[in-house]
């Protein structure tokens, strides 16, 4: 028992968390006695400090830093024996593990847990909104519900689930044995649930959960009850996690590609994550700082956002949106990558206009930094900023359009395999276009002046985040399920999931456009009688939407446990992750593969993307397939 608490692991992590809280008390005691402040243990101060310290205690206890501590003090480090690679039982998923595949699964599963919690909050919200007036929750709880709903789904679901999927497949795709910094990778994962748990714990705070929306505008966030700091600090951990992962992706992509994999032979998923990671590295510090400023204003009485002291309220929004607009592309670009993979494979055709697909991603990255103030058209900022921001925002529709049309052209004359991943990808094409169009409407200043802060925005949010990002996530999870688990999912349940999601998604969110334009504001627990019918309908549809998510959950759990064994390459895909077993061997490849062609050469006779071993490898096991590939390798070599 003692050993359990002494060795790295969850037990010790728990213990250290307690230590950290005690430390917080001690520091506050020393400090406040020193300055003879009263009371000595100011609840808020202890809480705030504990919120910073206890996650660190947890991480240290878990062993995330063990290696670095030894390294830093110049002690001999424990040589890597790769015992941390691979997971042998479910328990291994609860340990610090440096294998990118284990981390990928940890990420995906964790973020889906937060998806269901966030979705459940949406259900509670919809229940309250079913009728005008107040029924289930008071407005403090309601405001908390939508704030936590959005924060969990954005910071703990969409962003990390993409990071998780990419964590799993990206090193495989570029022919790398692991990520560039495996230990950092593990640390980024473990910071994540801490941020999420913190946000959930806020419901226990006096005065209720943080309730100023996921945007946490000052000065409301500065004056709100204590629950707010759970967001302020929780976001720091989620943000640090995503910066660390992004660094890792960038370095991995730049320095660890297999021989022959030039940038323009990378699968588009890799391109997408490359672009996303650039966004994360550059933009995420801004939200971290914005929350630090709120924190300082709250806890120490600084004047960043205090007009009476010369501070500026709108500054918060500029800093926040300078992150959070790029963040919406952080939540979309990896999905673009997933869809590119799926559409090419499932249409049996090369991606149409591969180079433009890559360049348009980069264009979105650059443009994404020039549009932040389109969230501030009615904020009272300087009038002249609006038109330039409207123009840049509109321009973003062009590279996005290039992508959409190129995908459509990819479908054209292909051989479409309409299975679940493909259905979600096709659903994405239409639904994201709708969401994008409502986005363009929002860019048009006079229209936004009317619909800003109404349910029209809520409709836009969900069309792009649910119909866009989440559809691609579902597509990606189905698509890589065989690779990640070694089992096939149930296709029939998958189709049921798609159709029910598609139908009820639209029934839930389409009417929101209408009530938004009619004038129903967002973020209200109560609304005028005239919208009662619409809201009742939305609520009912949303419950069915919730049920459809349960179909997905059942399919995943049941198939993981008892689905039929998956072949290594059920989709006949060319990219490297499909050329190894399902699930891949512990070290991905025995020898680093060589890349000899583009990733999407479907329909090109005898095309090969990568070969797993040097051509002289003697063991031709898979008879025909292998013979053919060896032959084509030769042809390719001649070409060079």
């Amino acid at each position: 028992m003692v050993a359990k608490f002494r060795n790295p692991g969850l037990y010790r992590a728990g213990l250290y968390t307690v230590y950290a809280v005690a430390l917080a008390y001690a520091i506050i005691w020393v400090f406040r006695t020193w300055y003879s402040l009263d009371p000595v243990f100011k609840g808020e101060a202890v809480l705030e400090l504990a919120l910073f310290l206890s996650p660190l205690g947890f991480l240290i206890g878990l062993g995330s830093f063990s290696y670095w501590f030894r390294w830093a003090t110049g002690k001999p480090t424990i040589p890597e024996d790769h015992s941390g690679h691979g997971a042998h039982s479910w328990r291994d998923y609860f340990k610090v593990n440096t294998d990118h595949k284990v981390i990928g699964i940890q990420y995906v599963v964790t973020s889906f847990v937060f998806f269901f919690i966030g979705g459940l909050f949406a259900m509670l919200m919809r229940a309250e909104l079913a009728q005008p007036g107040r029924q289930f929750v008071d407005s403090s709880t309601f405001n908390g519900l939508f704030s936590v709903h959005a924060s969990l789904l954005i910071f703990l679901f969409i962003i990390p689930v993409f990071a998780g999927l990419a964590n799993y497949v990206l090193p495989l795709m570029i022919g790398a044995p692991d990520m560039a910094f495996p230990r950092l990778n593990a640390l980024s994962f473990w910071m994540l649930p801490l941020g999420g748990i913190m946000m959930l714990l806020s419901f226990l705070a006096p005065g209720g959960s943080f309730a100023s929306g996921w945007t946490a505008y000052a000065p409301l966030a500065v004056t709100a009850p204590e629950g707010q700091v759970f967001f302020t600090i929780g976001v720091q951990f989620a943000g640090a996690s995503s910066i660390a992962t992004a660094l890792n992706f960038l370095v991995t992509i730049i320095t660890m590609r297999a021989p022959g994999m030039s940038f323009f032979r990378m699968p588009l998923l890799v391109w997408a994550n490359f672009s996303t990671s650039l966004l994360v590295v550059i933009a995420t510090p801004f939200i971290a700082v914005s929350q630090f400023m709120v924190f300082f204003d709250r806890a120490l009485g600084f004047n960043f956002f205090e007009p009476a002291g010369g501070g500026d309220v709108l500054m918060y929004q500029h800093i926040f949106w300078f992150y959070s607009h790029p963040a919406v592309y952080i939540m979309m670009l990896p999905g673009f990558g997933i869809v590119s993979e799926i559409l090419a494979v499932k249409s049996r055709k090369p991606i149409f206009g591969y180079r433009m697909m890559a360049f348009s991603l980069l264009a979105i990255v650059v443009l994404g930094f020039t549009v932040w103030a389109h969230h501030m058209f009615v904020s009272g900022m300087q009038d002249w900023i609006r038109v330039p921001m409207m123009v840049t925002t509109a321009i973003i529709a062009v590279p996005t359009g290039i992508k959409i049309f190129s995908w459509l052209a990819t479908l054209w004359r292909g051989v479409l395999h309409l299975d679940t991943p493909m259905l979600f990808a096709l659903g994405f094409l239409t639904m994201f276009t709708l969401g994008g169009i409502s986005g363009v409407m929002l860019a048009i200043i006079p229209v936004t002046i009317h619909v800003s802060d109404t349910y029209f925005i809520v409709a836009h949010i969900h069309y792009v985040l649910f119909g866009g990002s989440l559809f691609t996530i579902f597509a990606g999870v189905y698509y890589w399920f065989p690779k990640m688990t070694g089992r096939m999912y149930d296709e029939r349940l998958g189709k049921i999931h798609f159709w029910s999601t598609f139908v009820f998604f639209n029934l839930t969110f389409a009417p929101m456009h209408v009530i938004g334009i009619q004038g129903m504001p967002r973020r209200v627990a109560d609304y005028a009688e005239q919208w009662a019918t619409w809201n009742l309908m939305i609520t009912i549809a949303s419950f069915f939407l919730g049920l459809s998510a349960l179909v997905f959950a059942y399919n995943m759990v049941a198939s993981w446990r008892g689905g039929p064994k998956a072949e290594s390459n059920p989709w006949r895909a060319l990219t490297l992750e499909w050329q190894v077993t399902s699930p891949p061997p512990i070290f991905n490849f025995d020898a680093i593969p060589t890349v000899v062609g583009g990733p999407y050469e479907y329909g090109v006779p005898g095309a090969v993307h990568g070969v797993l071993k040097d051509a002289e490898v003697p063991t031709p096991v898979g008879a025909a397939a292998h013979g053919e590939s060896a032959g084509t390798t030769a042809t390719k070599d001649e070409e060079h």
Binding site: V378, G380, V398, V415, V447, H450
Partner: protein, 361 residues
């Protein structure tokens, strides 16, 4: 193989184009027929509504193109039994096509942005003879102030506007962000602590319209409502004159305030405090209905009804410590808790007395 030949045939585009045009036409028609917006009651509303119609006309075809190609491909190019191993033609791209689908959206957006610019300058244009109204947002009530040349400004918790007279709102916030929005006028702007934001509106239609707070401002955000009344210029003038008249004097049944006048504190006028606030305090009328003070808001309990038979102590506690007892069907945390500070003890007593008397009637 017939399958193969079927796949090699050129796909006819024309029927698709026809369907697309038809679907777009239907879509646009439906989009234009639906009455999306609330009543339009300002000259700003029309251009915005028209702009929205233009957006419908431009965006329906975009959606139709995408959807039709997806549906058509899913139907026409779907994998049929026996084609499991088949691959599509290795088309890698087509520069001409890519130029086209870059240029067309760009063009559409140029048109849209240019037209928007025209609309924007149009709706924000300065007008002759503008009336200034100061709007103040605070948790959780709006109050309005009509500056009077050389006189005390007129305060109100209901927004009165003369028809066809251009107004310019000067919007302020006392605590956190709010957003001053009259959906019928289409315009809104945040009330930002520390700065004054503004916008223009010219009401064009008589009627009563909701005023909404559209920026999350805390617990009472959902109930931070008030009313805008667009009245004829004549009515407006007489309303203004009535407000300007020495408080209490011109009133008819204001027994309580008259009584106050007679006794100890002649300058305290409880009814004005109720209806307009004392300059620091939020007007009670911003949230409560009280027939005698002419207020009609529904945010808090209707005091005419709930105060029947209540004693002065209850009323006083309700004002100074609203959380002490939460009125049924309402919610704590909304009524300001600082009346003990913003009202002087004399004002408070006068208010309690006044309420006790009017409510008893």
């Amino acid at each position: 193989m017939s399958e193969e030949t079927r796949r090699l045939e050129r796909t006819p585009i024309l029927p698709l184009v026809v369907i697309g045009v038809l679907a777009s036409a239907i879509g646009i028609a439906i989009g234009l027929v639906i009455d999306w917006f609330p009543t339009d009651a300002s000259i700003q509303a029309k251009p915005i509504d028209n702009l929205y119609d233009l957006m419908i006309i431009l965006s329906v075809p975009v959606f139709v193109v995408v959807t039709i190609i997806v549906l058509f491909s899913a139907w026409k190019f779907r994998m049929r039994p026996g084609e499991e191993q088949l691959d599509g033609p290795p088309i890698h791209g087509n520069t001409k096509l890519e130029v086209v689908w870059t240029a067309i959206p760009a063009l559409v957006l140029v048109v849209l942005c240019s037209y928007t610019y025209v609309v924007l300058t149009d709706i924000e244009e300065a007008q002759a003879n503008e009336m200034r109204i100061n709007v103040t947002g605070q948790q959780f009530a709006w109050s309005y102030e009509y500056p009077q040349a050389g006189g005390k400004p007129v305060r109100s918790t209901t927004l009165y506007l003369p028809k066809d007279r251009p107004v310019r709102f000067y919007v302020k916030a006392l605590d956190v962000l709010h957003d001053f929005w009259v959906p019928a006028f289409r315009m809104k702007v945040d009330a930002v602590p520390g700065i004054t934001t503004r916008y223009r509106v010219t009401p064009t239609r008589l009627g009563t319209y909701p005023v909404v707070c559209a920026e999350l401002c805390g617990l009472g955000h959902a109930v931070m409502r008030s009313t805008a009344k667009v009245v004829t210029p004549a009515d407006f003038d007489s309303w203004l004159a009535e407000q300007q008249a020495p408080a209490g004097g011109a009133d008819t049944g204001a027994g309580a305030s008259d009584g106050d006048k007679g006794t100890k504190a002649p300058e305290i006028d409880a009814k004005t405090i109720f209806a307009e606030g004392n300059g620091t305090s939020i007007a009670c009328g911003a949230c409560h209905t009280l027939a005698d003070a002419g207020t009609s808001s529904q945010t808090g309990p209707e005091l005419d009804k709930v105060l029947k038979g209540k004693d002065a102590d209850f009323i006083k506690t309700s004002i100074t410590d609203p959380e002490a007892e939460i009125a049924e069907g309402f919610q704590g945390g909304i009524m300001p808790k600082n009346y003990a500070d913003t009202l002087s003890p004399e004002e408070l007593d006068a208010l309690v007395k006044y309420l006790g008397e009017v409510a008893a009637k």
